[in-house]
Symmetry: C2
Subunit: 208 residues, 2 copies
Amino acid sequence: MTINKTDLQQLDQRYRATLINSLVGFKTAVLVGSSNGTNGNLAIFNSLTHIGANPAIWGLVFRPATVERHTLNNILQNQAYTINFINAAHYQNAHQTSAKYNGEQSEFSAVGFTELYNNNSTAPFVEEAAIQIAMQLIETVTLKINGTILLLGSLEHIHIKENIVAADGFVALEKANILACTGLDAYYNTTFINRLTYAKPEAWPQAI
Amino acid sequence: MTINKTDLQQLDQRYRATLINSLVGFKTAVLVGSSNGTNGNLAIFNSLTHIGANPAIWGLVFRPATVERHTLNNILQNQAYTINFINAAHYQNAHQTSAKYNGEQSEFSAVGFTELYNNNSTAPFVEEAAIQIAMQLIETVTLKINGTILLLGSLEHIHIKENIVAADGFVALEKANILACTGLDAYYNTTFINRLTYAKPEAWPQAI
């Protein structure tokens, strides 16, 4: 099956969005915690992206004027947010955070997670999360092409179970059964195949 | 285990890079095909990101001055590139594209993939790939914080097996056993859990 640019433009809008969103493939399904100063907010994202390790910076993509607007407004106002990685068993709870609750209602209690404030964070963590990361907003980049916002934040504080971090720093997410996803509604478990040695032209990579 | 910002700064450079790169989690392991006009180039990326569906735009992240420099130079020169999704059985071949072959040597033949030119593309596809996408460079965004380059491209042509595309446009990547990865060296299979209905405050999501 072949779909060219003209075909893409002529597709039904929902079909096209589902196609292009799911085709880009696997992501970690993360829950972003934020606060407007009064109420905590929780929203699922599939766009967490590595930007740099020193300083440690990750990006999140926000479409213009979407349901995640509460989260974006909170982060722009408060500068602090949290990223929470959850067990795949909680995939329905995670998905339910994308429902359009009104600004007064906490997504935490509505979907069955516990709101947790610690380490002086002004943004809430998900208590049930296997990995909790406090983030600080650094830079907001608006992409000219379609108004999409790339939000860059630094990792301020990582709370993680020691038994999933290898001696060289590698995080074995599968040991905590961390939820993966594609598109806006599909959820996945993962199975570890192997880590491979640093690739060199003269030899074939080996399992670490 | 708790790692704060000061701890992060004091970690060994390789440990920190491995930690932050792997912690960000699951991605599709994609092979990017490009050409300098004479030779084809193939490189593995773990940073493919959805930017928009209309027009259909994806991003790729390039660290400043890395081994993927051949790919970046080719794309900046030629504007055209390809994104290829491969079967998890080919994970070693895919990883081996990250070896520092010299500019004269084709990664395609060196790692055991077949270079394919079709649909008038000036960039090569991977013949063995289950999904082949021709991309056109649209915009290059350099992030102030660390010089990282976000390369935005439009989807010009998608070649995909019809039996993995659902009636609503959803692409079931697991049906083609598409390779997932974390960090720079860890590879994963995936197992589909469920798709869930559009989330609404008054009801719990159901499997589609």
